[in-house]
């Protein structure tokens, strides 16, 4: 089964000279983890927004669960897909529990109160993301890593079949970054489809089943980590010399390709 499918997708921001997304076709299979990679400005976030239906493409089409994404209402999508977008600036006081509880909104509509099932979903999402001890803390007092985990918990409280994350581990320390990738792997085992935008090639190679490498809005490569991460391709897309190694193990990632950028001016 295919969760997202797009064909010949093009998009250009108003007043921009170049296409941000230029003829992209791909499939995001159900129950697998797909990582979208590429240099800054290669169209990763734009592609994600097009797939999620918050941007309308100039050309091509997006199907979510075999139905055109524009035929879905926003709250119907929100019951199926949890999204962790980049930066939110929270200017009003809000506790972690209140933030996570917002994940239930798509299931409640404007007037209905939270019932026991909603409370269960909130508690479970906070437990899975290890933010239960932070439940009553204001978001403003959290560290970057804690805040990101709280936002993922909000997406999980939606009890979605698919999760989309836009650079969820940017500016996080190693421990928090690994915790988030392990969480994603765990969710994947439970059958949640994961669509991830990231700059971390090595973790993407380890944790994703499928990689999409974008360059200037086009798909430079698309396939398993072993297919996509080869030296010529990575050097061409990132315009920097690299060597390829393999994960030394121990652990489940033994033998996975790993990219090491070389030093010295190219």
């Amino acid at each position: 089964m295919i969760t997202w499918r797009c064909r010949n997708l093009t998009f250009r921001y108003p007043e921009a000279a170049a296409y941000a997304v230029d003829g992209v076709s791909l499939e995001v299979p159900h129950g697998a983890c797909t990582a979208v990679l590429g240099p800054n400005g290669s169209g990763k976030s734009t592609l994600l927004r097009l797939l999620l239906g918050v941007l309308q493409p100039l050309g091509g089409e997006v199907a979510f669960r075999d139905r055109p994404v524009r035929a879905w209402t926003r709250d119907a999508v929100a019951r199926e897909v949890g999204v962790v977008p980049q930066g939110e600036e929270i200017v009003f006081p809000l506790s972690v529990r209140e933030l996570v509880a917002m994940g239930r909104y798509p299931h409640l509509g404007p007037w209905r109160r939270e019932g026991p099932r909603d409370v269960d979903a909130i508690v479970e999402a906070m437990t899975r993301c290890d933010v239960t001890p932070l439940a009553d803390r204001p978001i403003a007092t959290l560290s970057g890593g804690e805040r990101q985990l709280a936002r993922i918990a909000r997406a999980l409280a939606q009890q979605p079949g698919a999760l989309a994350l836009d650079e969820p581990t940017v500016a996080l320390d190693m421990r928090h970054e690994m915790a988030i990738f392990e969480l994603l792997r765990d969710l994947g085992r439970r059958g949640v489809t994961i669509l991830l935008v990231t700059h971390n090639l090595n973790l993407a190679a380890r944790y994703a089943d499928q990689l999409v490498l974008l360059d200037g809005g086009r798909v430079a490569a698309y396939g398993t980590p072993g297919d996509v991460l080869n030296r010529e391709l990575v050097e061409a897309v990132y315009r920097w010399p690299v060597r390829m190694l393999h994960h030394p193990g121990p652990g489940p990632d033994e033998g996975v390709p790993q990219v090491v950028p070389l030093g010295g001016r190219p």
Binding site: L52, V54, T73, R74, D75, V77, A78, R79, V81, G82, V83, P85, E88, E89, I90, V91, F92, P93, L94, S95, E98, M102, G103, Y105, P106, L108, P110, W111, R113, Q158
Partner: protein, 331 residues
């Protein structure tokens, strides 16, 4: 927030409003005791007391409460829409736009024809103002930059003030008085008709905003997040901007421009109970009503027999509060 905590909070605020209402009816140029007021409400006792209570004090108190309620709900909605704790219909220039609309209706002689026309003209003025503020902010830079929005509000407010001054220059004495009234804000011409008129706008707009409370919670975090959590962002924004502008316009149409109520009251609620709009909208509405009742009681009595414009009292409270907020945010 638990339903129980919310119920206790709202009950406390309602009790506070009831107390303020009694207080406001009691004090004035003639101080009355509670028994005399109760009897006067029933139409008994000294005829002049009955006239003061039923014809002057009570309609004025009710109108003050309704205006305060409308301004507070409007401010709360603008703050969520703009993700800006400093937003308020007065600071955004929306009240000024509404005043121009109302003055226009008065000068053109429409208001005499139909008492419902003035608020509609004020509504048009308010919509023009908020559209101008957003447009200027977009042209200058990012629409949601706090400082740019506030500057745009100041500029638009100044422009509308100039419009009123222009009208003043060519106006006869009667229009001159009314223009002063719109610019300073006053509850001295309160009547039951005006109070009724205001509630006809207030109640539907409040119900609309309450129905959008969850969407406003989400918009206060970010438009993209709101969309991902099921909100039709553009439609919600359109309806919420219209409701917030309508509330401010209706308040201005009956009482002129009164500042800072919409800034202060949502923040006091936030400090005590947090930012959940399902609670914040009704709570700020009750607190706004209480605040303006007390401000008006003070304005009537502090320099008696001279009456201060109520906007002076709200500004004396509101300006230090605004500065405190600005410092706390480091904006």
């Amino acid at each position: 927030m638990t339903p129980k905590r919310a119920a206790v909070g709202l009950a406390a605020l309602a009790a506070l409003l009831a107390l303020a209402l009694v207080f406001s009816v009691r004090f004035g140029a003639v101080a009355l005791d509670a028994r005399a007021i109760l009897r006067a409400l029933g139409g008994e006792g000294d005829p002049s007391t009955v006239a003061i209570v039923q014809g002057l004090r009570l309609p004025r108190a009710v109108q003050a409460a309704l205006v305060g309620a409308a301004l507070a709900a409007s401010g709360a909605a603008f703050q969520a829409l703009l993700r800006n704790p400093l937003a308020d219909p007065y600071i955004l220039g929306v009240s000024g736009g509404a005043a121009v609309g109302a003055v226009g209706a008065v000068v053109l002689g429409w208001s005499g024809a139909d008492v419902w026309v003035t608020p509609l003209a004020a509504f048009v003025g308010a919509l023009v103002a908020i559209a101008l503020v957003l447009r200027i902010a977009v042209i200058v830079g990012h629409a949601l930059d706090t400082r740019i929005l506030l500057l745009a509000g100041v500029v638009v407010g100044a422009f509308f003030n100039a419009c009123i001054l222009l009208v003043l220059t060519f106006a006869d004495v009667e229009s001159f008085r009314s223009a002063i009234f719109w610019m300073m804000g006053s509850l001295s011409s309160a009547t039951w008709t005006r109070a009724l008129l205001l509630s006809a706008y207030l109640v539907p707009a409040l119900i609309l905003l309450l129905g959008m409370a969850r969407a406003l919670n989400l918009l206060a975090i970010g438009e993209e997040t709101a969309a991902y959590l099921g909100t039709s962002v553009e439609r919600t924004k359109l309806v919420a901007y219209a409701a917030a502008s309508l509330l401010a316009a209706a308040a201005v149409a009956v009482s002129g421009v009164i500042g800072f109520v919409g800034l202060i009251t949502p923040h006091v609620v936030r400090l005590i109970w947090g930012n959940d709009y399902r609670f914040l909208i009704p709570a700020a509405t009750l607190l706004g009503a209480t605040f303006l009742l007390l401000a008006d009681a003070l304005a009537r009595t502090v320099a008696a027999p001279t009456e201060l414009p109520v906007g002076v009292v709200t500004a004396f409270v509101g300006v230090p509060f605004f500065v405190w907020l600005l410092r706390r945010r480091g904006a």
